[in-house]
């Protein structure tokens, strides 16, 4: 049940971050290409493909990182494998669902991927930090005197 919850939460977080990336992509087109936002369009299946991609990426996270208890070098290697895996999923899904055409589009998808990846890590770290502060505060009230 916990794994299912983790998977759904991650799917929502990644999907939200990709949608945010799409909004930023639209703004980039508007600002640097001078095009109206109306020329920037998405098909219905592309919107669904974002959630599907989020679910696949979460699945990889679930298998690689959710139960991992290690630290240091081994953890770093896992994170690198994880990030490459995610990039392959995103590239493949982008190719299948026409997220990009040509090299420029692919570069844009890569940039969005990097942005989403950093965003998800930052949100996770912020969540862990907040949790750490809360726990330390609560421990102050029950700690034994030595």
């Amino acid at each position: 049940m916990n794994k299912l919850k983790f998977w759904l939460e991650q799917t929502m977080m990644i999907s939200f971050a990709i949608y945010l990336g799409i909004v930023i992509e639209g703004l980039v087109y508007l600002i640097f290409k001078g095009e109206a936002l109306s020329t920037f369009s998405l098909s219905w299946y592309q919107l669904i493909s974002v959630i599907l991609t989020g679910a696949l990426c979460s699945l990889l996270t679930l298998f690689l990182l959710s139960d991992y208890e290690g630290a240091g070098k081994r953890f770093l290697i896992k994170v690198i494998i994880h990030s490459i895996g995610l990039y392959l999923i995103v590239s493949f899904m982008g190719w299948i669902f026409n997220w990009y055409t040509g090299v420029t589009g692919f570069i844009m998808v890569t940039l969005i991927f990097l942005m989403v990846y950093v965003f998800v890590w930052l949100v996770s770290l912020w969540f862990y930090k907040r949790e750490e502060v809360q726990i330390n505060k609560a421990l102050d009230d029950i700690r034994d005197e030595e």
């Binding site: 916990n2 990182l65 959710s66 139960d67 991992y68 208890e69 290690g70 630290a71 953890f75 994170v79 996770s124 770290l125 862990y128 930090k129 949790e131 750490e132 809360q134 726990i135 330390n136 609560a138 421990l139 029950i142 700690r143 034994d144 030595e146």
Partner: protein
């Protein structure tokens, strides 16, 4: 077991001496009762049996199906399994990984790592790892 009660002249003189071949669960319970409800359990150190008060315990670890109880100064052997101790001790004693029970009252501070697990520094400066899967329960016990 025979029970002898002798009259003492003052509260300070009140003492209970138990002579037993081994420390059974019943004796542990009796000790606990005599000590005013402070939870305690049987442990051993260098072939000597002791009754250890729960409040002295920092953490309990299971290694190769053996259970070790750590206090500030010593490491005791214990006949109980982790799941039994978890039930017996309750309260601020909780599982922090598959092989460890930690006393939350002995944690000086915690620090989150990138992998989501929590490193808990104990009052004796030892560091115990709280797995991600047990963090929710830690928060629940702390009323968060």
């Amino acid at each position: 077991m025979q029970v002898h009660i002798e009259k003492a002249n003052s509260k300070e003189e009140e003492t209970a001496v138990i002579k037993a071949v081994e420390i059974t669960d019943e004796i542990s319970a009796a000790v606990e009762l005599l000590e005013g409800g402070a939870r305690s359990f049987a442990v051993s150190y260098e072939d000597n049996a002791y009754i250890l008060k729960a409040e002295a315990v920092y953490y309990i670890e299971s290694v190769d199906k053996k259970t070790f109880v750590y206090t500030k100064e010593r490491c005791y052997d214990c006949k109980y399994r982790l799941y039994e101790l978890e039930t017996m001790l309750g309260g601020y004693f909780m599982r922090c990984s598959k092989s460890m029970i930690i006393n939350l009252r002995k944690i000086r501070s915690v620090r989150s790592s990138m992998s989501g697990r929590i490193e808990a520094t104990l009052l004796n400066d030892e560091v115990a790892i709280i797995s991600r899967g047990y963090v929710k329960e830690v928060k629940r016990r702390l009323g968060l």
